[in-house]
């Protein structure tokens, strides 16, 4: 079976408007968390007044007319996809022949929530001004397959457009399905990723009512603190990550730069509770082990885990225990949500990219705000400064409401 390699990547996150600035800010220990802009925070007197909003507004980057036809979630997906596509050396001028047969090119990009800001804004318009003020673009703007479909239009992908929806595991699940499609030989190239832009009153209210968000309003940059004893919930973020994945033979034939290999994947489900993870971590462990097994490796090869760890009291410990049980106590951990909050459907894609860069560059970013590690977390978590470390393999974990567990294994 063919190898699946990464030839391009893109991102837009609370830390930076592209992949390089995100990675640099992460290594520099910066935080993308701040006070939420928007009158609705005060209007509804929400107890959570912080979030991780984008570093660069997508409307500053995208052509105006393209941007006005898109929901914010679609905009961030497009920004990341355009960067990844160009980075992979696949962008061509208008009229030039494509570098990949369009029928052998697929898009797999999902979102956890979809076009919620469009839904809210347009419902307000319907209520206040009536039908004729509702945009004819409402449906394509709020549909959860919108980001993937718009990317397919941008790059001319005719080999299938797919939109997994598995809440906070969506971005990683997209990569996993891309891996399956490429391994099966159905296509040569897949543009895969996840996107989210759901910092909106109803979403924040819903997460508040589920008691999942940090309320550390007086110190936003210290609010997201995975594995720390002071953690009190996650910080909602927004953004997108996209990878260009290819069959190795195809990438080599066109002389593409290979940044790493998506060597294995694991997708499992808990069937335990609609929001709570299985406390035994069985599904999480099986996902990690499936990623190791499909890569043809052993747990001892995995030197690093880029954790899902969202900074919730229960979730972080559960994941640490699952890692220890599945892989052993040797992997060195980090949790990038400390710096950029929780990108929901975008999280697995951006964090998968970070795990890939850790393997490529031999460096693991530190977990911001980890000052007093929870004694129940009996593993080595990088804190303070990034750690230089040669890695054979790194695993990225993403878990989602609904009992979704997705693990990706990257090698050089």
């Amino acid at each position: 079976m063919t190898d699946v390699v990464v030839t391009g990547y893109g991102a837009t996150t609370p830390l930076g408007g592209d992949a390089a600035s995100t990675w640099d800010a992460l290594l520099a220990g910066k935080s993308g968390v701040g006070h939420t802009t928007g009158e609705w925070v005060e209007k509804h007197d929400l107890p959570v007044k912080i979030s991780a909003q984008l570093a660069v507004e997508p409307t500053e980057v995208l052509p105006r007319v393209q941007a006005r036809r898109m929901d914010r979630a679609e905009q961030v997906a497009m920004v990341a996809a355009r960067e990844a596509w160009a980075h992979a050396g696949l962008a061509v001028e208008k009229g030039e022949d494509p570098k990949v047969d369009p029928t052998r090119l697929a898009v797999i990009v999902g979102t956890g929530i979809g076009g919620v800001t469009t839904l809210l804004d347009q419902d307000d318009l319907l209520e206040s001004d009536g039908l004729r003020k509702v945009s004819p673009l409402v449906v394509p703007m709020l549909m959860p397959n919108g980001p993937a479909a718009l990317i397919s239009l941008e790059i001319g992908a005719k080999g299938g457009v797919h939109s997994p929806a598995s809440a906070c595991a969506t971005g990683a699940e997209a990569m996993a399905w891309a891996w399956r499609l490429l391994k099966a030989g159905e296509v040569d190239v897949v543009v895969a990723g996840g996107a989210e832009a759901c910092i909106a009153p109803i979403t924040v209210a819903g997460f508040v009512q589920a008691r999942t968000l940090s309320q550390r309003n007086d110190a936003p940059q210290e609010a997201s603190r995975p594995f720390d004893t002071g953690r009190d919930g996650f910080v909602l973020g927004e953004g997108a990550g996209v990878l260009v994945l290819e069959r190795r033979e195809f990438a080599e034939a066109r002389g593409a730069t290979v940044h790493g290999t998506l060597a294995g994947i694991g997708l499992t489900s808990d069937a335990y509770h609609i929001t709570g993870p299985d406390p035994e971590g069985g599904g999480q462990g099986r996902a990690m082990l499936n990623a190791v097994r499909t890569a043809g490796l052993e747990p001892s090869d995995v030197g690093h885990v880029n954790c899902h760890a969202t900074s919730t009291v229960v979730g972080d410990v559960g994941e640490a225990n699952a890692i220890k049980k599945a892989l052993g106590d040797h992997p060195v951990l980090t949790a990038p949500k400390a710096s950029m909050g929780h990108l929901v459907g975008g999280a697995g894609a951006v964090e998968g990219l970070i795990a890939l860069l850790s393997v490529r560059d031999g460096i693991i970013p530190a977990t911001l705000n980890l000052e007093d590690k929870d004694p129940k977390v009996d593993l080595d978590v990088v804190a303070g400064e990034p750690r230089k470390m040669e890695l054979t393999a790194a695993v990225n974990n993403s878990f989602g409401f609904g009992g979704h567990n997705a693990s990706l294994l990257f090698t050089k």
Binding site: R69, R132, P136
Partner: protein, 80 residues
């Protein structure tokens, strides 16, 4: 009441806003679909904005008949 030239320039501004087409390109003989590459969704947006700007009603069956920019200008001029 706007005259022909005012309607044309007002319509061109709407087309520019909705579809990103330079106002200079929006001339009477141009077809919305074939020349300006405006899709049916954008046409709905343009019609709603034109209704507000010129105080006209453009029912769907009439909208379908407005093939060119000139068709739209004449319709607005007659019905404002």
């Amino acid at each position: 009441m706007a005259d022909t030239a005012e309607i044309l320039s007002g319509l061109a501004e709407i087309v520019e806003e909705v579809a990103g087409i330079d106002t200079a390109e929006v001339t009477a003989e141009k077809s919305f679909v074939d020349d300006l590459d405006i899709d049916s969704l954008s046409m709905v947006e343009i019609a709603v904005q034109a209704e507000d700007k010129f105080g006209v009603k453009i029912p769907d069956d009439q909208l379908a008949e407005l093939k060119t920019v000139g068709d739209a200008v004449s319709y607005i001029e007659k019905n404002q």
